[in-house]
């Protein structure tokens, strides 16, 4: 929790120093040539624009209503937060709040804002902006209200101090406050906004600001001239281009049309790694791929049947066929990178004999017909489905594949109108509570729509939210992981890394384990 920010600070320091020198040199050079003209701040030999190809288009930049990654990941460039997640995704570092304190009863948190942060409009970020933003996030209906669920009162103590009072001590509060929906927007904007204004014309204090948005095509971001940290962002312009087709995106980065891309498919990573111009990165993520089982239906309501299904999956083979070796078989419901992940858990190793034995014990006559719902045209879901069909056939389960487009599949799934559904999860906060509540708690989402309900689990989850002692809290989440495996309401398949491919000329790109990229340090040499 402490190490990485410090290390980052150092590199940042060196970077800005070098950058300042270069800038100085450039100013002289340019000044001599075009006296009177404003100098470009790009260092010599560096590109003025970063071009990045992404697989999904941002469509709405209002932080409180959005679920889709392309939007969330754009927030990181445009907005700032009180605190932010560190690179590893397991701790926090200061953002707008320079520091923060907790009252002894754990119910009051005080955040002290840095005084030099300014929005791209030029206005200083003050406590009233923070209060307005957080209240809006808490009180507007949306999928992310839980991020401030615990906050009872949000007040400005003075211009640069914000005090938040909680209903009760809340262990993951710092994690919650780092959630993207709690981005800080100017109070003026919130007050004057017509519906859709914030979605289309977001204003924040982050390193970049939105200047042009060709919807479904390209986001053009320019450096926020008032960004608090001088010398950042290192490149003046960032263009996020929407290139949905995997091949087209890969060819775009290979041919130099863009400097980097997200989500090259696993199958291409080895090849991209061999390309001397490119760097293929496998970044630690919080992604878990899993199957949601509809526990309401027979025979999926039989725990032994669910366990049999889990044992019958050869996760190593799945990793080979689906991820081309870059994923890791899942051993608990938690991502490896999440704090309190139980590294000693064995999960469900591939054991066909055991699976068959459990099938027999369950007394379910074979063959069993099951339907598998999944997103069509998804480079990961389709091969997963194909592999599962073959694997489960060995224990007498006849899997009928039902690929549907995303909207149709999601609607069906949300209506609990499914038997088995391929899905996946990524954390938005570096804490197990979000995922645990969503996946195993009935009230939040009917346990990821599985319908799983367990008193024992509910008690554990409630304790986990309120236990402030880190060691005790860890034990609670270890117990949660064991219980989840035992009850097996879902089947966890594998942990996958984030993949990106960038030109080797691009330096300084950081991708958080929760997903977002950080472009403020990025330079691309000519």
């Amino acid at each position: 929790m402490q190490n990485s920010p410090v290390r980052l600070q150092t590199t940042r320091g060196v970077g800005s120093l070098r950058n300042a020198r270069m800038l100085f040199a450039l100013m002289i050079a340019v000044g001599l040539m075009f006296a009177g003209l404003a100098p470009s701040s790009a260092a010599p030999g560096m590109k003025k624009v970063i071009k990045f190809g992404v697989n999904r288009a941002a469509d709405d930049l209002d932080p409180i209503t959005q679920d889709a990654n392309p939007n969330i990941w754009a927030f990181t460039q445009i907005y700032q937060f009180l605190v932010k997640v560190n690179v590893k995704g397991n701790g926090f570092e200061p953002d707008l709040a320079e520091r923060w304190t907790t009252s002894p009863d754990g119910k009051t948190w005080t955040f002290f804002l840095r005084k030099n942060a300014r929005f791209s409009t030029g206005d200083t970020v003050k406590a009233n902006d923070v209060v307005a933003s957080l209240k809006r996030a808490r009180d507007t209906k949306g999928p992310w209200q839980w991020g401030l669920e615990a906050a009872q009162d949000i007040k400005a103590a003075d211009d640069f101090t914000v005090a938040i009072t909680l209903k009760e001590p809340w262990a993951p509060f710092l994690a919650d406050i780092s959630l993207f929906s709690n981005a800080i927007i100017p109070e003026k904007v919130i007050k004057n906004a017509k519906p859709g204004d914030i979605s289309n014309k977001p204003v924040g204090s982050g390193p970049f600001m939105l200047v042009e948005w060709k919807k479904g095509e390209e986001l053009v971001l320019k450096a926020n001239p008032y960004y608090y940290e001088k010398g950042y962002p290192k490149t003046q312009e960032l263009r996020i281009k929407y290139i949905p087709d995997d091949n087209a995106r890969i060819i775009a980065v290979q041919s130099g049309d863009v400097d980097g891309i997200d989500y090259p498919p696993f199958s291409r990573m080895a090849e991209l790694g061999r390309d001397p111009k490119l760097e293929a990165q496998l970044n630690p993520s919080t992604a878990v791929s899993h199957l949601s089982l509809n526990n309401r239906l027979s025979p999926l309501n039989e725990v032994k049947f669910r366990q049999a299904l889990a044992y019958a999956i050869d996760r190593a083979a799945l990793v080979k066929a689906v991820c081309f070796g870059v994923c890791t078989p899942a051993t608990t419901f938690l991502p490896m990178t999440t704090p309190m992940f139980n590294a000693s858990s064995k999960g469900y190793p591939y054991d066909l004999a055991k699976a068959k034995q459990l099938m027999q014990e369950s007394g379910i006559p074979t063959p069993v017909n099951l339907k598998l719902l999944f997103w069509a045209n998804n480079a990961v879901h389709t091969p997963t489905a194909v592999a599962l069909k073959a694997m489960w056939a060995k224990i007498g389960v006849n899997l009928d594949l039902e690929p549907l487009d995303r909207a149709a599949a999601t609607t069906k799934y949300r209506a609990n109108n499914f038997q088995v559904y391929i899905t996946g999860w990524t954390n938005d906060i570096p804490d197990p509570s979000q995922l645990a509540a969503y996946e195993l708690g009935f009230t939040e989402s009917q346990s990821y729509h599985s319908g799983y309900q367990s008193k024992e689990m509910d008690t554990l989850l409630a304790r986990g939210l309120r236990e402030m002692n880190p060691e005790k809290r860890r034990q609670i989440y270890y117990d949660v992981q064991d219980l989840a495996l035992k009850d097996s309401p879902l089947i966890w398949l594998y942990y996958s890394p984030y993949t990106i491919a960038i030109n080797k000329k691009m330096k300084g790109l950081v991708q958080l384990a929760t997903g977002p990229w950080i472009f403020r340090n990025v330079t691309v040499s000519e």
């Binding site: 050869d314 066929a321 389709t382």
Partner: protein
């Protein structure tokens, strides 16, 4: 028999008897080969089209796997052979029913005119106003992916072309003398239409039929590309191509082999179409 001036054509084809067009012969042979190969697939290969082998992933074409293996270690040749059954079935079924329906509707519209014509042609206008692929995509999205649904989607749009072609021919035919003669003989109008006019008017539609099969197979492939193809793990060629495009650089054979199969079939139907066209033209003269 005597005439003052005898006619004789110097031009080729003096025989007048329809000859077997070489394109037809080659196309027919190709058809024989592919139908035979797909039917004999279980004999020709010892692999299961869905049989996965995770130790044999993405093997290049070689002695054990002539067309290599895919990302599940499945034998590509086996899948291509079994896929031929599916693609030929889709290709032919998705064309035959629209052809029958379209010809019937189109000829009725052309022959009876009036409100029948208005209704049919306005329906045709509505359907043609929306681009073919877009409409098919919407219909498949509605029905869900799968072979039958693809057939339904393509069929519900495809009949339009046939009805247009046949209607145009019927309009031309119905003013010819033999129709008047048949009418004068007191034949029922349906009998005239189905027994006399339609057989003569259907030639361009039949010629179009062969190239339409190619079009259907390609449309199925495009649907696969957009994620709306037949259900996996079906070895349908379009799906194989669209799934295999992920591996074009590290396993080119996965997409390319079914691509060649697709081209082979396309060429075959084009040749057959040329042959049929020639045959009908000779007959028509």
């Amino acid at each position: 028999m005597s005439t003052l001036v005898q006619e004789q054509r110097i031009v080729a084809d003096t025989g007048g008897r329809p000859r077997l067009h070489p394109a037809m012969v080659i196309g027919g042979l190709m058809l024989l080969v592919i139908v035979g190969a797909s039917l004999l697939a279980p004999v020709l290969t010892s692999y299961d089209p869905d049989g996965q082998d995770f130790d044999q992933i993405l093997l290049a074409p070689g002695a054990r796997h002539l067309f290599g293996t895919d990302n599940f270690g499945r034998d590509v040749l086996t899948r291509v052979l079994y896929g031929a059954r599916i693609d030929l079935r889709i290709g032919i079924l998705a064309v035959v029913f629209p052809f029958l329906f379209g010809s019937l509707v189109g000829s009725a519209a052309g022959y009876f005119g009036g409100w029948v014509d208005t209704i049919v042609m306005r329906t045709v206008d509505v359907i043609t106003a929306v681009p073919f692929l877009v409409l098919v995509i919407a219909i498949v999205a509605f029905l869900g992916p799968g072979e039958v649904n693809i057939l339904l989607a393509i069929g519900s749009v495809g009949w339009v072309t046939y009805s247009r072609l046949v209607r145009g021919e019927v309009l031309r035919e119905k003013n010819l003398e033999y129709v008047a003669a048949a009418r004068a003989l007191g034949f029922h109008r349906w009998r005239i239409l189905l027994g006399h006019v339609l057989p003569n008017a259907v030639a361009p539609a039949i010629i179009f039929l062969a190239s339409d099969v190619v079009l259907v197979i390609l449309t199925t492939a495009s649907l696969g590309f957009l994620g709306l193809g037949v259900r996996p793990p079906s070895p349908e060629w379009g799906m194989m191509i669209s799934e295999g495009r992920e591996f074009l650089s590290n396993g080119w054979w996965v997409a390319t082999m079914p691509g060649f199969a697709c081209m082979y079939t396309g060429l075959m139907f084009i040749l057959l179409g040329d042959g049929i066209a020639d045959l009908l033209r000779v007959k028509g003269q």
